[in-house]
Protein backbone atom coordinates (compact mmCIF):
# COMPACT_ATOMS: atom_id res chain seq x y z
CA UNK A 1 0.00 0.00 0.00
CA UNK A 2 1.55 3.35 -1.04
CA UNK A 3 2.24 5.82 1.78
CA UNK A 4 -0.47 8.37 2.43
CA UNK A 5 0.30 11.77 0.88
CA UNK A 6 0.91 14.69 3.23
CA UNK A 7 -1.55 16.81 1.26
CA UNK A 8 -4.29 15.41 -0.89
CA UNK A 9 -7.19 16.90 -2.85
CA UNK A 10 -9.78 14.98 -4.75
CA UNK A 11 -12.20 16.66 -7.11
CA UNK A 12 -11.91 19.81 -5.04
CA UNK A 13 -14.40 22.45 -6.10
CA UNK A 14 -15.16 25.86 -4.68
CA UNK A 15 -17.78 28.29 -5.90
CA UNK A 16 -18.19 31.65 -4.21
CA UNK A 17 -21.71 32.97 -4.15
CA UNK A 18 -21.93 36.76 -4.13
CA UNK A 19 -24.47 39.36 -5.15
CA UNK A 20 -24.25 42.43 -7.32
CA UNK A 21 -26.51 45.37 -7.98
CA UNK A 22 -28.12 47.78 -5.56
CA UNK A 23 -31.85 47.83 -6.15
CA UNK A 24 -32.12 44.63 -8.10
CA UNK A 25 -29.80 42.18 -6.38
CA UNK A 26 -28.44 39.52 -8.63
CA UNK A 27 -26.81 36.33 -7.40
CA UNK A 28 -23.43 35.67 -8.95
CA UNK A 29 -21.56 32.38 -8.80
CA UNK A 30 -17.79 32.66 -9.17
CA UNK A 31 -16.04 29.36 -9.66
CA UNK A 32 -12.60 29.39 -7.98
CA UNK A 33 -11.71 25.70 -8.19
CA UNK A 34 -13.08 23.21 -10.70
CA UNK A 35 -12.37 19.68 -9.52
CA UNK A 36 -8.70 19.78 -8.53
CA UNK A 37 -6.84 16.52 -7.86
CA UNK A 38 -3.48 16.72 -6.08
CA UNK A 39 -1.27 14.42 -4.03
CA UNK A 40 1.84 15.80 -2.35
CA UNK A 41 4.16 13.37 -0.55
CA UNK A 42 5.77 14.07 2.81
CA UNK A 43 8.85 16.34 2.92
CA UNK A 44 8.25 17.70 -0.55
CA UNK A 45 8.50 21.37 -1.43
CA UNK A 46 5.57 21.75 -3.78
CA UNK A 47 4.95 24.92 -5.77
CA UNK A 48 1.60 26.01 -7.12
CA UNK A 49 1.98 28.54 -9.92
CA UNK A 50 -0.72 30.57 -11.52
CA UNK A 51 -1.86 34.06 -12.38
CA UNK A 52 -3.90 36.22 -10.01
CA UNK A 53 -7.38 34.82 -9.47
CA UNK A 54 -6.42 31.33 -10.65
CA UNK A 55 -7.46 29.69 -7.36
CA UNK A 56 -4.13 29.41 -5.52
CA UNK A 57 -5.19 31.21 -2.34
CA UNK A 58 -8.55 29.46 -2.30
CA UNK A 59 -6.76 26.13 -2.31
CA UNK A 60 -4.44 27.19 0.52
CA UNK A 61 -7.40 28.42 2.56
CA UNK A 62 -9.22 25.12 2.14
CA UNK A 63 -6.17 23.13 3.25
CA UNK A 64 -5.62 25.46 6.22
CA UNK A 65 -9.28 25.01 7.31
CA UNK A 66 -10.24 28.62 6.62
CA UNK A 67 -12.61 27.71 3.81
CA UNK A 68 -15.01 24.89 3.09
CA UNK A 69 -15.04 23.53 -0.45
CA UNK A 70 -18.30 23.31 -2.33
CA UNK A 71 -17.56 19.65 -3.03
CA UNK A 72 -14.68 17.19 -3.06
CA UNK A 73 -12.24 16.25 -0.33
CA UNK A 74 -9.13 17.89 1.12
CA UNK A 75 -6.90 15.96 3.48
CA UNK A 76 -3.72 17.06 5.19
CA UNK A 77 -1.65 14.56 7.20
CA UNK A 78 -4.52 12.13 6.78
CA UNK A 79 -6.94 14.51 8.49
CA UNK A 80 -10.05 15.81 6.80
CA UNK A 81 -9.60 19.59 6.45
CA UNK A 82 -13.38 19.98 6.40
CA UNK A 83 -14.28 18.08 9.54
CA UNK A 84 -11.14 17.55 11.59
CA UNK A 85 -10.05 21.18 11.69
CA UNK A 86 -9.21 21.30 15.40
CA UNK A 87 -6.74 18.43 15.24
CA UNK A 88 -5.31 19.66 11.96
CA UNK A 89 -4.72 23.27 13.06
CA UNK A 90 -2.29 22.09 15.72
CA UNK A 91 -0.13 20.34 13.14
CA UNK A 92 0.05 22.84 10.30
CA UNK A 93 1.33 26.37 9.85
CA UNK A 94 0.55 28.98 7.24
CA UNK A 95 1.96 32.27 6.09
CA UNK A 96 0.20 34.70 3.81
CA UNK A 97 2.25 37.20 1.85
CA UNK A 98 2.05 40.93 2.48
CA UNK A 99 2.43 43.05 5.55
CA UNK A 100 -0.99 42.51 7.12
CA UNK A 101 -1.72 39.81 9.66
CA UNK A 102 0.35 41.17 12.51
CA UNK A 103 -0.35 43.50 15.42
CA UNK A 104 1.74 46.44 14.30
CA UNK A 105 1.51 48.38 17.54
CA UNK A 106 2.89 45.51 19.55
CA UNK A 107 6.42 44.16 19.50
CA UNK A 108 7.45 41.16 17.45
CA UNK A 109 7.93 39.24 20.68
CA UNK A 110 4.41 40.09 21.90
CA UNK A 111 3.00 38.92 18.57
CA UNK A 112 4.79 35.60 18.85
CA UNK A 113 3.86 35.06 22.50
CA UNK A 114 0.20 35.76 21.73
CA UNK A 115 0.08 33.33 18.81
CA UNK A 116 2.02 30.73 20.79
CA UNK A 117 -0.77 30.82 23.38
CA UNK A 118 -3.47 30.65 20.68
CA UNK A 119 -1.67 27.62 19.22
CA UNK A 120 -1.89 26.19 22.73
CA UNK A 121 1.83 25.60 22.96
CA UNK A 122 2.94 24.88 26.54
CA UNK A 123 4.83 27.89 27.99
CA UNK A 124 7.90 25.78 28.74
CA UNK A 125 8.07 24.94 25.02
CA UNK A 126 7.33 28.43 23.66
CA UNK A 127 9.90 29.97 26.02
CA UNK A 128 12.57 28.02 24.16
CA UNK A 129 11.10 28.04 20.68
CA UNK A 130 10.46 31.78 20.33
CA UNK A 131 14.10 32.86 20.92
CA UNK A 132 15.24 30.03 18.66
CA UNK A 133 12.96 31.22 15.83
CA UNK A 134 13.96 34.86 16.34
CA UNK A 135 17.59 33.83 16.04
CA UNK A 136 17.04 31.60 13.03
CA UNK A 137 15.07 34.24 11.15
CA UNK A 138 17.44 37.08 11.91
CA UNK A 139 15.09 38.99 14.20
CA UNK A 140 17.04 38.56 17.44
CA UNK A 141 17.85 41.92 18.96
CA UNK A 142 14.81 43.60 17.36
CA UNK A 143 12.13 41.46 18.99
CA UNK A 144 11.14 44.16 21.48
CA UNK A 145 10.64 46.81 18.77
CA UNK A 146 7.12 47.54 17.63
CA UNK A 147 6.26 45.74 14.39
CA UNK A 148 5.40 49.04 12.72
CA UNK A 149 9.11 49.87 12.87
CA UNK A 150 10.09 46.68 11.03
CA UNK A 151 11.08 46.65 7.37
CA UNK A 152 8.89 44.68 4.99
CA UNK A 153 11.39 41.84 4.97
CA UNK A 154 11.44 41.71 8.77
CA UNK A 155 7.65 41.62 8.87
CA UNK A 156 7.64 38.73 6.44
CA UNK A 157 10.21 36.89 8.54
CA UNK A 158 8.06 37.52 11.60
CA UNK A 159 5.13 36.02 9.68
CA UNK A 160 7.27 32.98 9.00
CA UNK A 161 8.28 32.76 12.66
CA UNK A 162 4.60 32.84 13.59
CA UNK A 163 3.89 30.10 11.05
CA UNK A 164 6.64 27.94 12.58
CA UNK A 165 5.65 28.42 16.23
CA UNK A 166 3.90 25.08 16.49
CA UNK A 167 6.71 23.28 14.65
CA UNK A 168 4.32 22.34 11.83
CA UNK A 169 4.62 19.14 9.85
CA UNK A 170 3.11 20.93 6.86
CA UNK A 171 3.66 24.59 6.10
CA UNK A 172 1.52 26.54 3.64
CA UNK A 173 3.12 29.64 2.15
CA UNK A 174 0.90 31.87 0.04
CA UNK A 175 3.10 34.18 -2.05
CA UNK A 176 5.52 34.71 0.84
CA UNK A 177 8.04 36.77 -1.11
CA UNK A 178 5.56 39.21 -2.60
CA UNK A 179 6.80 42.77 -2.27
CA UNK A 180 10.17 41.80 -0.82
CA UNK A 181 13.40 43.22 -2.16
CA UNK A 182 15.60 40.70 -4.05
CA UNK A 183 17.92 40.11 -1.09
CA UNK A 184 15.05 39.64 1.36
CA UNK A 185 13.26 37.32 -1.06
CA UNK A 186 16.42 35.28 -1.57
CA UNK A 187 16.95 34.93 2.18
CA UNK A 188 13.39 33.77 2.64
CA UNK A 189 13.73 31.22 -0.17
CA UNK A 190 16.85 29.82 1.46
CA UNK A 191 15.04 29.42 4.77
CA UNK A 192 12.12 27.71 3.05
CA UNK A 193 14.46 25.32 1.25
CA UNK A 194 16.20 24.54 4.56
CA UNK A 195 12.86 23.75 6.16
CA UNK A 196 11.99 21.36 3.36
CA UNK A 197 15.40 19.71 3.61
CA UNK A 198 14.77 19.25 7.33
CA UNK A 199 11.60 17.30 6.55
CA UNK A 200 8.78 19.84 6.59
CA UNK A 201 6.28 19.43 3.78
CA UNK A 202 5.83 22.79 2.12
CA UNK A 203 3.03 23.99 -0.12
CA UNK A 204 4.14 27.22 -1.76
CA UNK A 205 2.10 29.41 -4.06
CA UNK A 206 3.87 31.96 -6.20
CA UNK A 207 3.80 33.62 -9.54
CA UNK A 208 7.56 34.08 -9.63
CA UNK A 209 8.78 31.36 -12.00
CA UNK A 210 12.43 31.61 -11.01
CA UNK A 211 11.41 31.11 -7.39
CA UNK A 212 9.59 27.89 -8.18
CA UNK A 213 12.41 26.77 -10.47
CA UNK A 214 15.03 27.47 -7.81
CA UNK A 215 13.53 25.77 -4.78
CA UNK A 216 10.57 23.52 -5.60
CA UNK A 217 10.84 19.76 -5.92
CA UNK A 218 7.64 19.63 -7.92
CA UNK A 219 5.22 22.18 -9.28
CA UNK A 220 1.74 22.46 -10.67
CA UNK A 221 0.33 25.21 -12.85
CA UNK A 222 -3.21 26.31 -12.12
CA UNK A 223 -5.36 28.33 -14.47
CA UNK A 224 -9.00 29.30 -13.95
CA UNK A 225 -9.39 26.87 -11.07
CA UNK A 226 -7.96 23.84 -12.86
CA UNK A 227 -4.51 22.22 -12.87
CA UNK A 228 -3.09 22.43 -16.40
CA UNK A 229 0.33 20.84 -15.76
CA UNK A 230 2.12 19.05 -12.94
CA UNK A 231 5.64 17.69 -12.53
CA UNK A 232 9.19 18.64 -11.67
CA UNK A 233 10.38 22.05 -12.94
CA UNK A 234 12.51 20.27 -15.55
CA UNK A 235 9.64 18.10 -16.74
CA UNK A 236 7.47 21.20 -17.11
CA UNK A 237 10.25 22.83 -19.14
CA UNK A 238 10.29 19.84 -21.49
CA UNK A 239 6.82 20.89 -22.58
CA UNK A 240 8.59 23.60 -24.56
CA UNK A 241 11.88 21.82 -25.19
CA UNK A 242 11.22 21.67 -28.93
CA UNK A 243 11.13 25.41 -28.91
CA UNK A 244 13.61 28.19 -28.62
CA UNK A 245 13.27 31.80 -27.70
CA UNK A 246 14.52 34.68 -29.82
CA UNK A 247 14.57 38.10 -28.24
CA UNK A 248 15.39 41.36 -29.98
CA UNK A 249 15.20 45.01 -29.15
CA UNK A 250 14.03 47.50 -31.75
CA UNK A 251 12.92 51.10 -31.93
CA UNK A 252 9.65 51.96 -33.66
CA UNK A 253 8.50 48.61 -34.99
CA UNK A 254 5.27 48.99 -36.99
CA UNK A 255 2.30 46.79 -36.09
CA UNK A 256 2.14 45.22 -39.56
CA UNK A 257 5.73 43.98 -39.20
CA UNK A 258 4.76 42.30 -35.93
CA UNK A 259 1.85 40.64 -37.68
CA UNK A 260 4.28 39.43 -40.33
CA UNK A 261 6.45 37.98 -37.60
CA UNK A 262 3.52 36.07 -36.13
CA UNK A 263 2.72 34.59 -39.54
CA UNK A 264 6.17 33.08 -39.99
CA UNK A 265 6.21 29.26 -39.96
CA UNK A 266 7.20 27.76 -36.60
CA UNK A 267 6.38 30.89 -34.57
CA UNK A 268 4.30 29.94 -31.50
CA UNK A 269 3.92 33.28 -29.83
CA UNK A 270 5.15 36.86 -30.01
CA UNK A 271 5.20 39.10 -26.94
CA UNK A 272 6.16 42.77 -26.96
CA UNK A 273 7.16 44.83 -23.94
CA UNK A 274 8.19 48.46 -23.83
CA UNK A 275 11.66 49.24 -22.50
CA UNK A 276 12.18 53.00 -22.35
CA UNK A 277 12.04 54.07 -26.03
CA UNK A 278 12.66 50.60 -27.36
CA UNK A 279 10.42 47.55 -27.75
CA UNK A 280 11.61 44.17 -26.55
CA UNK A 281 10.10 41.45 -28.72
CA UNK A 282 10.13 37.85 -27.42
CA UNK A 283 9.37 35.18 -29.98
CA UNK A 284 8.76 31.54 -29.05
CA UNK A 285 9.38 29.42 -32.07
CA UNK A 286 10.15 25.88 -33.16
CA UNK A 287 13.34 26.61 -35.12
CA UNK A 288 15.18 29.61 -33.73
CA UNK A 289 18.09 29.39 -36.20
CA UNK A 290 15.72 29.68 -39.16
CA UNK A 291 13.93 32.59 -37.57
CA UNK A 292 17.21 34.42 -37.05
CA UNK A 293 17.88 34.29 -40.77
CA UNK A 294 14.39 35.54 -41.58
CA UNK A 295 14.60 38.39 -39.10
CA UNK A 296 16.81 40.36 -41.47
CA UNK A 297 13.98 40.53 -43.99
CA UNK A 298 11.25 41.29 -41.46
CA UNK A 299 13.25 44.00 -39.74
CA UNK A 300 14.65 45.58 -42.87
CA UNK A 301 15.00 49.33 -42.33
CA UNK A 302 14.18 49.13 -38.62
CA UNK A 303 16.62 50.22 -35.94
CA UNK A 304 17.61 46.83 -34.47
CA UNK A 305 19.57 47.32 -31.26
CA UNK A 306 20.29 43.79 -30.13
CA UNK A 307 19.21 40.25 -30.78
CA UNK A 308 19.73 37.02 -28.85
CA UNK A 309 18.60 33.44 -28.74
CA UNK A 310 18.23 31.33 -25.57
CA UNK A 311 16.92 28.06 -24.18
CA UNK A 312 13.32 28.10 -22.93
CA UNK A 313 12.85 28.67 -19.20
CA UNK A 314 10.15 27.60 -16.79
CA UNK A 315 8.58 30.98 -17.36
CA UNK A 316 8.35 30.24 -21.09
CA UNK A 317 6.66 26.93 -20.31
CA UNK A 318 4.34 28.69 -17.90
CA UNK A 319 3.42 31.36 -20.44
CA UNK A 320 2.65 28.70 -22.99
CA UNK A 321 0.61 26.66 -20.53
CA UNK A 322 -1.40 29.64 -19.41
CA UNK A 323 -1.80 30.75 -23.01
CA UNK A 324 -2.89 27.28 -24.11
CA UNK A 325 -5.39 27.12 -21.29
CA UNK A 326 -6.89 30.36 -22.54
Amino acid sequence: MPPQPAIEARQLRKTYITTRGVLRRERVNRVALRGVDLAIPHSELFGLLGPNGAGKTTMVKIFTTLLLPTSGTARVLGLDALKEQWALRRRIGFVFGGERGLYWRLSGLDNLRYFADLYRIPPEVSRLRIPELLERLGLAGRERDRVELYSRGMKQRLHLARGLLNDPEVLFLDEPTIGLDPVGARELRLIVRELADAGTTIFLTTHYMFEADAICDRIAVIKDGGIVAEGTPNSIKTLVQDQGVVEFEVVGMPVERLAGLRDLPGVKSVAVSEHELAQVVTVHCARPAELMTQLGVILDGINLQKVSSREPTLEDAYVQLIGDAQ
Binding site: T65, L66, W86, R100, G101, L106, Y114, D117, L118
Partner: protein, 261 residues
Protein backbone atom coordinates in the same frame (compact mmCIF):
# COMPACT_ATOMS: atom_id res chain seq x y z
CA UNK B 1 -8.47 23.10 29.33
CA UNK B 2 -5.42 24.75 30.86
CA UNK B 3 -4.17 25.77 27.42
CA UNK B 4 -7.58 27.25 26.58
CA UNK B 5 -7.55 29.29 29.79
CA UNK B 6 -4.05 30.50 28.88
CA UNK B 7 -5.25 31.45 25.38
CA UNK B 8 -8.20 33.39 26.84
CA UNK B 9 -5.89 35.18 29.27
CA UNK B 10 -3.51 36.00 26.43
CA UNK B 11 -6.39 37.52 24.43
CA UNK B 12 -7.40 39.46 27.55
CA UNK B 13 -3.85 40.78 28.02
CA UNK B 14 -3.58 41.71 24.35
CA UNK B 15 -6.87 43.62 24.44
CA UNK B 16 -5.71 45.56 27.51
CA UNK B 17 -2.38 46.41 25.86
CA UNK B 18 -4.06 47.59 22.68
CA UNK B 19 -6.49 49.74 24.68
CA UNK B 20 -3.76 51.31 26.76
CA UNK B 21 -1.91 52.52 23.66
CA UNK B 22 -5.04 53.57 21.75
CA UNK B 23 -6.14 57.18 22.29
CA UNK B 24 -9.66 56.28 21.10
CA UNK B 25 -10.30 53.99 24.06
CA UNK B 26 -9.89 56.96 26.40
CA UNK B 27 -12.87 58.63 24.75
CA UNK B 28 -15.08 55.69 25.68
CA UNK B 29 -14.11 55.22 29.29
CA UNK B 30 -13.18 58.78 30.21
CA UNK B 31 -14.63 61.54 28.06
CA UNK B 32 -18.06 60.25 27.03
CA UNK B 33 -19.06 59.00 30.51
CA UNK B 34 -17.97 62.32 31.98
CA UNK B 35 -20.17 64.19 29.50
CA UNK B 36 -23.18 62.02 30.26
CA UNK B 37 -22.56 62.27 34.00
CA UNK B 38 -22.14 66.06 33.87
CA UNK B 39 -25.42 66.53 32.01
CA UNK B 40 -27.24 64.05 34.27
CA UNK B 41 -25.91 65.57 37.46
CA UNK B 42 -26.69 69.09 36.28
CA UNK B 43 -30.29 68.22 35.42
CA UNK B 44 -30.93 66.02 38.45
CA UNK B 45 -29.41 68.41 40.98
CA UNK B 46 -31.47 71.37 39.80
CA UNK B 47 -34.29 72.89 41.83
CA UNK B 48 -37.58 71.00 41.79
CA UNK B 49 -36.08 67.56 41.12
CA UNK B 50 -36.55 64.50 43.33
CA UNK B 51 -33.43 64.20 45.50
CA UNK B 52 -33.41 60.40 45.33
CA UNK B 53 -33.03 60.63 41.54
CA UNK B 54 -29.60 62.22 41.94
CA UNK B 55 -28.22 58.72 42.16
CA UNK B 56 -28.91 58.36 38.41
CA UNK B 57 -26.50 61.23 37.85
CA UNK B 58 -23.88 59.70 40.12
CA UNK B 59 -23.92 56.22 38.55
CA UNK B 60 -25.55 56.76 35.13
CA UNK B 61 -22.46 58.11 33.36
CA UNK B 62 -20.37 55.25 34.71
CA UNK B 63 -22.94 52.68 33.60
CA UNK B 64 -23.04 54.20 30.12
CA UNK B 65 -19.25 54.18 29.93
CA UNK B 66 -19.09 50.63 31.21
CA UNK B 67 -21.57 49.34 28.63
CA UNK B 68 -20.10 51.45 25.85
CA UNK B 69 -16.55 50.20 26.35
CA UNK B 70 -17.71 46.59 26.63
CA UNK B 71 -20.03 46.55 23.63
CA UNK B 72 -18.46 49.04 21.23
CA UNK B 73 -14.91 47.92 21.89
CA UNK B 74 -15.88 44.28 21.43
CA UNK B 75 -17.31 45.13 18.02
CA UNK B 76 -14.49 47.48 17.10
CA UNK B 77 -11.85 44.99 18.09
CA UNK B 78 -13.27 42.50 15.60
CA UNK B 79 -13.36 45.15 12.88
CA UNK B 80 -9.76 46.06 13.74
CA UNK B 81 -8.74 42.41 13.48
CA UNK B 82 -10.31 42.30 10.04
CA UNK B 83 -8.51 45.45 8.89
CA UNK B 84 -5.22 44.22 10.35
CA UNK B 85 -5.61 40.91 8.55
CA UNK B 86 -5.37 39.09 11.88
CA UNK B 87 -8.97 37.85 11.97
CA UNK B 88 -8.16 34.95 9.65
CA UNK B 89 -4.96 34.27 11.57
CA UNK B 90 -6.69 33.91 14.91
CA UNK B 91 -9.59 31.99 13.38
CA UNK B 92 -7.22 29.37 11.98
CA UNK B 93 -5.55 28.62 15.32
CA UNK B 94 -6.55 25.61 17.46
CA UNK B 95 -8.26 27.98 19.92
CA UNK B 96 -12.01 28.38 19.33
CA UNK B 97 -13.10 31.91 18.41
CA UNK B 98 -15.40 31.98 21.45
CA UNK B 99 -12.40 31.60 23.79
CA UNK B 100 -10.50 34.41 22.07
CA UNK B 101 -13.53 36.69 22.19
CA UNK B 102 -14.10 35.81 25.85
CA UNK B 103 -10.60 37.10 26.59
CA UNK B 104 -11.08 40.24 24.51
CA UNK B 105 -14.49 41.04 26.02
CA UNK B 106 -13.09 40.49 29.52
CA UNK B 107 -10.43 43.07 28.72
CA UNK B 108 -13.19 45.47 27.69
CA UNK B 109 -15.07 44.81 30.93
CA UNK B 110 -12.04 45.61 33.05
CA UNK B 111 -11.39 48.78 31.10
CA UNK B 112 -15.08 49.68 31.18
CA UNK B 113 -15.14 49.57 34.98
CA UNK B 114 -12.71 52.49 34.89
CA UNK B 115 -15.58 54.66 33.65
CA UNK B 116 -16.96 54.75 37.20
CA UNK B 117 -13.83 56.50 38.48
CA UNK B 118 -14.11 59.88 36.67
CA UNK B 119 -17.92 59.98 36.91
CA UNK B 120 -17.95 59.23 40.64
CA UNK B 121 -15.20 61.81 41.16
CA UNK B 122 -17.18 64.40 39.22
CA UNK B 123 -20.32 63.65 41.26
CA UNK B 124 -18.49 63.83 44.56
CA UNK B 125 -16.20 66.80 43.97
CA UNK B 126 -18.20 68.73 41.37
CA UNK B 127 -21.77 68.27 42.66
CA UNK B 128 -21.18 67.08 46.24
CA UNK B 129 -23.43 64.14 45.44
CA UNK B 130 -23.06 61.07 47.64
CA UNK B 131 -24.74 57.71 48.14
CA UNK B 132 -25.63 57.85 51.86
CA UNK B 133 -27.90 54.81 51.85
CA UNK B 134 -25.55 52.56 49.88
CA UNK B 135 -25.72 48.86 50.77
CA UNK B 136 -22.16 47.85 49.76
CA UNK B 137 -22.67 44.08 49.63
CA UNK B 138 -25.85 44.25 47.53
CA UNK B 139 -24.25 46.90 45.34
CA UNK B 140 -21.21 44.71 44.67
CA UNK B 141 -23.32 41.62 43.94
CA UNK B 142 -25.56 43.63 41.60
CA UNK B 143 -22.54 45.08 39.81
CA UNK B 144 -21.05 41.60 39.43
CA UNK B 145 -24.31 40.36 37.94
CA UNK B 146 -24.41 43.37 35.61
CA UNK B 147 -20.88 42.48 34.53
CA UNK B 148 -21.98 38.92 33.77
CA UNK B 149 -24.92 40.30 31.83
CA UNK B 150 -22.74 42.63 29.75
CA UNK B 151 -20.30 39.80 29.16
CA UNK B 152 -23.02 37.48 27.92
CA UNK B 153 -24.46 40.06 25.50
CA UNK B 154 -21.05 41.05 24.09
CA UNK B 155 -19.94 37.44 23.87
CA UNK B 156 -23.11 36.46 22.04
CA UNK B 157 -23.20 39.33 19.54
CA UNK B 158 -19.49 39.65 18.71
CA UNK B 159 -19.26 36.58 16.44
CA UNK B 160 -21.87 38.19 14.21
CA UNK B 161 -19.49 41.10 13.73
CA UNK B 162 -16.80 38.63 12.73
CA UNK B 163 -19.02 37.05 10.12
CA UNK B 164 -20.74 40.06 8.61
CA UNK B 165 -18.78 43.28 8.35
CA UNK B 166 -22.04 45.26 8.11
CA UNK B 167 -23.46 43.73 11.31
CA UNK B 168 -21.68 46.09 13.65
CA UNK B 169 -22.97 49.16 11.80
CA UNK B 170 -26.48 47.70 11.94
CA UNK B 171 -26.21 46.99 15.65
CA UNK B 172 -24.60 50.32 16.55
CA UNK B 173 -28.01 51.57 17.60
CA UNK B 174 -28.22 48.73 20.12
CA UNK B 175 -25.67 50.58 22.24
CA UNK B 176 -27.97 53.58 22.64
CA UNK B 177 -31.04 51.36 22.98
CA UNK B 178 -29.55 49.66 26.01
CA UNK B 179 -28.82 53.05 27.68
CA UNK B 180 -32.46 53.96 27.37
CA UNK B 181 -34.24 50.64 27.81
CA UNK B 182 -32.18 49.35 30.73
CA UNK B 183 -32.67 52.49 32.81
CA UNK B 184 -29.08 53.65 33.05
CA UNK B 185 -30.01 57.30 33.63
CA UNK B 186 -33.67 57.19 34.61
CA UNK B 187 -36.11 54.59 35.94
CA UNK B 188 -37.55 52.16 33.39
CA UNK B 189 -40.99 52.96 34.85
CA UNK B 190 -41.04 56.26 32.93
CA UNK B 191 -40.91 54.41 29.59
CA UNK B 192 -43.93 53.45 27.50
CA UNK B 193 -45.50 50.11 28.36
CA UNK B 194 -44.23 48.43 25.17
CA UNK B 195 -40.72 49.72 25.84
CA UNK B 196 -40.89 48.32 29.37
CA UNK B 197 -41.82 44.97 27.81
CA UNK B 198 -38.70 45.08 25.61
CA UNK B 199 -36.59 46.18 28.59
CA UNK B 200 -37.76 43.22 30.64
CA UNK B 201 -36.05 40.73 28.30
CA UNK B 202 -32.72 42.54 28.62
CA UNK B 203 -30.61 41.15 31.45
CA UNK B 204 -28.94 44.49 32.33
CA UNK B 205 -32.37 46.04 33.09
CA UNK B 206 -32.73 43.85 36.18
CA UNK B 207 -29.12 44.21 37.29
CA UNK B 208 -29.27 48.01 36.93
CA UNK B 209 -32.52 48.06 38.88
CA UNK B 210 -30.80 46.13 41.66
CA UNK B 211 -27.80 48.48 41.56
CA UNK B 212 -29.96 51.56 42.01
CA UNK B 213 -32.07 49.85 44.68
CA UNK B 214 -28.91 49.07 46.64
CA UNK B 215 -28.25 52.80 46.91
CA UNK B 216 -31.67 53.75 48.20
CA UNK B 217 -33.08 52.94 51.63
CA UNK B 218 -36.58 51.54 51.93
CA UNK B 219 -38.37 49.43 49.41
CA UNK B 220 -40.00 47.55 48.07
CA UNK B 221 -36.76 45.82 47.07
CA UNK B 222 -36.78 42.33 45.62
CA UNK B 223 -33.11 41.68 45.00
CA UNK B 224 -33.41 37.91 44.68
CA UNK B 225 -35.92 38.18 41.84
CA UNK B 226 -33.96 40.88 40.03
CA UNK B 227 -30.68 39.02 40.33
CA UNK B 228 -32.30 35.76 39.21
CA UNK B 229 -33.89 37.50 36.22
CA UNK B 230 -30.58 39.08 35.16
CA UNK B 231 -28.62 35.85 35.57
CA UNK B 232 -31.32 33.72 33.92
CA UNK B 233 -31.57 35.98 30.87
CA UNK B 234 -27.78 36.16 30.58
CA UNK B 235 -27.54 32.38 30.66
CA UNK B 236 -30.17 32.26 27.95
CA UNK B 237 -28.07 34.60 25.79
CA UNK B 238 -25.08 32.31 26.32
CA UNK B 239 -27.09 29.31 25.15
CA UNK B 240 -28.03 31.27 22.02
CA UNK B 241 -24.37 32.29 21.71
CA UNK B 242 -23.26 28.66 21.84
CA UNK B 243 -25.26 27.87 18.72
CA UNK B 244 -24.29 31.17 17.14
CA UNK B 245 -20.58 30.37 17.39
CA UNK B 246 -21.13 27.01 15.69
CA UNK B 247 -23.08 28.80 12.96
CA UNK B 248 -20.44 31.50 12.54
CA UNK B 249 -17.62 28.94 12.39
CA UNK B 250 -19.42 27.11 9.60
CA UNK B 251 -20.61 30.18 7.70
CA UNK B 252 -17.26 31.96 7.88
CA UNK B 253 -15.60 28.92 6.35
CA UNK B 254 -18.29 28.62 3.71
CA UNK B 255 -18.30 32.25 2.61
CA UNK B 256 -14.70 33.28 3.26
CA UNK B 257 -15.98 36.50 4.86
CA UNK B 258 -13.19 36.79 7.45
CA UNK B 259 -10.78 38.32 4.98
CA UNK B 260 -11.07 41.92 3.92
CA UNK B 261 -10.76 41.19 0.22
Amino acid sequence: MKSLARAAFSAFRLSIRLRVISPWSYLNWLLFPLLFAAVGLYVLSGPGTVSSHLVYGVLGGGLIGYWSVTYIDAGNSIQDERWNGTLEQIFATPTPLSVIILGKVSGGLLFGLLAFVPTAALAFFGFHAELPALDPSRFVISLAILTFSFLSIALTLTPLFALWRWAFSMLNGFELGVYVLCGFMFPVAVLATWAQGVASVLGPTWAVRAIYASTVAGGPHDFAVWWAAAVGLSLLYLVVGYFLYALVEREARRSGELALA
